[in-house]
Point group: C2
Chain length 473, copies 2
């Protein structure tokens, strides 16, 4: 059988998961992966920990080397940009080193990910960074070192942008940094830059850090960041980055703060431009809308990862939630489906966890009351604080759980958790409960683990369920 190859655009989590699974199931068929840049298969979520110094080498963040990819029988072409798609011809047009060529495909997977937005901020100034991609992490790391003192062993032997590193390594190191945006990136970078000895100011335009985690988490995180030396400015939109060539200050609220560094964590957006003009269906934020099997509305074209939508476990509707597991899982499922074994990509519950110094935060499902109301529910919420272990066992720590349920059906809609002792991982109990459509009274009766070193008799999640169920009775 002479079939055109399965073509994948994008060599990160979704793309390489798909290619790997496809080749494992169909070792006689070809798969070609076009990656615009030089890096493939890296752990985006690890970037702050490299900058912090917790991870020794940039290349420690690579999951697969190009050699690993080749050994899987994947035809990986780095430095190849796919510039257009012809769904009718079933070809993509590829540009590389000034050449262009057409590549036919039997099936196409668009796995082009997302990019950090910079809004109207001038991100061309020296000292201004987004945290997206290994080259940005390398640039930040170099910028933090005194001129002539940057240890290039930190970079490992990957295809790093040496010019950008050299440029940043030559500049005087910053003493004070502003972080613009109090989401995941902002909170993780606050921890990282404090660890690197900087005076860190975190600016959030709304009243709460980590908005998807709700008020109870936000308050504990803000207090904890303060204890650890971060100046937290909530309700403070940053208006402008000030500087001439290099950042000198940030302007906000008729005031300004002198800084030598600014990190922008103001959001991301899907890299969905490749299918512009094709009439493809789109979902929230312009992401490529896909069905349960990752199929776009165009024949033989799939999308997976940060560029694609997912179906929400609780709401049932299409949503855009770019997260690591979603990308890996959807990529793998598309690889299986294209190989002939139709496999659902799975719904997303919006499960997310984040570390803020010693605090662990988790969230899942519908946490925001307005969002729950918009989705047709009548949300009731309860927040409790309980101990993480038996009170007499050393290490027991206050764990705050918020639980949201629908008043009429008692169905659990979502929840959050925050605490310093094994708090984050407990969100998986709620994620499983959401997936299974459990009611609050069913949640209350779950037979969860108890042993003094790990959990009290009534796990904090059970306590929250007990109290919320009492209110619903």
């Amino acid at each position: 059988m002479n079939r055109d190859p399965f073509v994948v655009v994008g060599g990160d989590a979704a793309g390489l998961s798909a290619a790997s699974k496809f080749r494992r199931e169909q070792p006689d068929r070809d798969v070609v992966v076009f990656e615009q840049g030089q890096w493939v298969s890296y752990a985006h979520c690890g970037l702050p920990y490299f900058i912090e110094g917790t991870v020794d080498r940039l290349t420690d963040l690579l999951s697969l080397s190009p050699t690993d990819v080749a050994e899987r029988g994947i035809d990986l072409r780095r430095g190849h940009e796919v510039v257009s798609v012809s769904p009718t011809e079933r070809t993509v047009t590829v540009r590389s080193e000034g050449e262009r060529f057409d590549q036919p495909y039997s099936e196409l997977l668009v796995a082009t990910g997302a990019r950090a937005t910079t809004r109207s901020f001038d991100a061309t100034l020296d000292g201004v960074f987004t945290v997206h991609g290994l080259d940005s992490a390398a640039a930040i790391d170099a910028y933090l070192a005194a001129p002539g003192e940057y240890d290039r062993n930190r970079l490992g032997d990957g295809p790093v942008d040496r010019g950008r590193v050299d440029h940043n390594a030559a500049l005087a190191p910053p003493e004070r940094a502003a972080i613009v945006g109090g989401g995941y990136v902002g909170v993780e970078m606050a921890e990282a830059l404090v660890a690197r000895g900087l005076d860190v100011h975190l600016f959030q335009r709304s009243s709460h850090l980590l908005p998807p985690f709700g008020e109870a988490v936000a308050e504990r995180v803000a207090a904890h960041l303060g204890e650890r030396g971060v100046a937290v400015h909530t309700d403070t939109p940053v208006e402008r980055l000030v500087g001439d060539g290099r950042i000198e200050a940030i302007a906000f609220d008729d005031d300004r703060l002198s800084v030598e560094m600014a990190v922008l964590g103001v959001g991301i957006e899907p890299n969905a431009g490749l299918l512009d003009g094709t009439g493809v269906d789109r979902g929230p934020n312009g992401a490529l809308h896909v069905d349960d099997y990752g199929r776009t509305s165009l024949p033989a074209i799939y999308a997976a990862g940060d560029v694609a939508t997912s179906r929400h476990t609780v709401m049932g509707r299409s949503t855009w939630m770019p997260l690591g597991l979603t990308a890996n899982r959807a990529g793998r499922a598309v690889g299986a489906t294209v190989a002939g074994d139709p496999t659902p990509v799975g719904d997303v519950a919006g499960t997310a966890v984040v570390k803020a110094f010693d605090l662990e935060c988790g969230r899942v499902g519908l946490v925001d009351g307005d969002e729950a109301t918009d989705a047709g529910f009548d949300p009731v919420r309860e927040t409790i604080t309980a101990e993480s272990r038996s009170g007499y066992y050393p290490g027991a720590a206050d764990t705050t759980v918020t639980l949201v349920a629908d008043r009429g059906s008692r169905r659990v809609l979502g929840g959050t958790i925050v605490g310093s002792d094994r708090a984050a991982i407990r969100i998986d109990t709620l994620a499983t409960a959401l997936d299974a459509n459990l009611r609050v009274d069913e949640l209350e009766r779950l037979d969860l683990a108890y042993a003094p070193p790990f959990s009290p008799v009534w796990d904090p999640i059970l306590v929250a369920a007990k109290v919320l169920n009492g209110r619903l009775a």
Copy 2:
């Protein structure tokens, strides 16, 4: 309305949970709790940690003081033994300080717990202990101290058996201890006695420690105990405790080992004798059989906690699983039911976690293949080892997961986990999945938490589900 009181026999987890909930719902009705001993409401699971020295004072293990109980409006009578029940008269006969009297009840809750068995071992020898009740923990603690050096501040100001403490404190301290039985008590006491500086030998008659946790956990625990200095003797039934007044040796397998201490962890059995002769229905191990609301087969008589059966989440059948959460939850539910709000006691999945030095172990559901087959399933199992965090993040540790599913239906039947990094608490994900009857492919698609400090992209439970589902496909 002149109604007889709600009478509870037993002042520990189940009994006091029931009494507290009942009074909260029915503040105008009376509840009387008869407790044979002097202690009430203590954390049985904390005893090894007191002996270890991790918990400073014996009384730290009390959940409620008699004063707390009184403030809840509960008529608590310590030193009152209920010696018989007349289901037709609706009275119990009580003995206290040589007196006997009859107490009428409107409803009766039997919450008499369980006791440690000693099999045919001579537990009257000095230096031989079971670990059951605060007085046994105090006696062990005193026995470990050199004569004249026992710090009685360790005991707090509770109603401890001072005579027993004094007797043990006067004896020469042991240098070597044998622990008979490799279940929870045995493993936890091995850790405790090593911490107290003893040469510890752990004897298990079967081939695996912690039998309910299956082979994969047993092997890692045995290896780890060995690394921490415990001599583990599996397949070695202890035949006899040797001594004249005081333990001198244990005899096994045509051999003997000189010891100055023996801890018996050879099982427990329900204290169900109170209803002997009433014809009450019984379940496994002679436990009192109860329905979904904790009702025995006798009118107006309930049972809860370690003396009662529970319905198994996976098998649906009556089982006897004496565990802490079960007792608290069932007691509370019976209290609500008797107060007029019928509340199910909840099924048990057999969720259990145990700490063995730095290893954390968890189990839930059907783990043993024969048990699963007996219950009508066709069990398939898979064991994987995966990292607990992203590999590049410090602290990532091998986590071993065993997953058992039914071949035909793909339903998840049970599983185990063992590892050193937040392993135990992850069993709650499986406990929730079992309660919700999830299939392996549904488990594989759960949206679980991912962040480098807490979990890898594919949580070890997802890895196990992925591999097992691949085998079932």
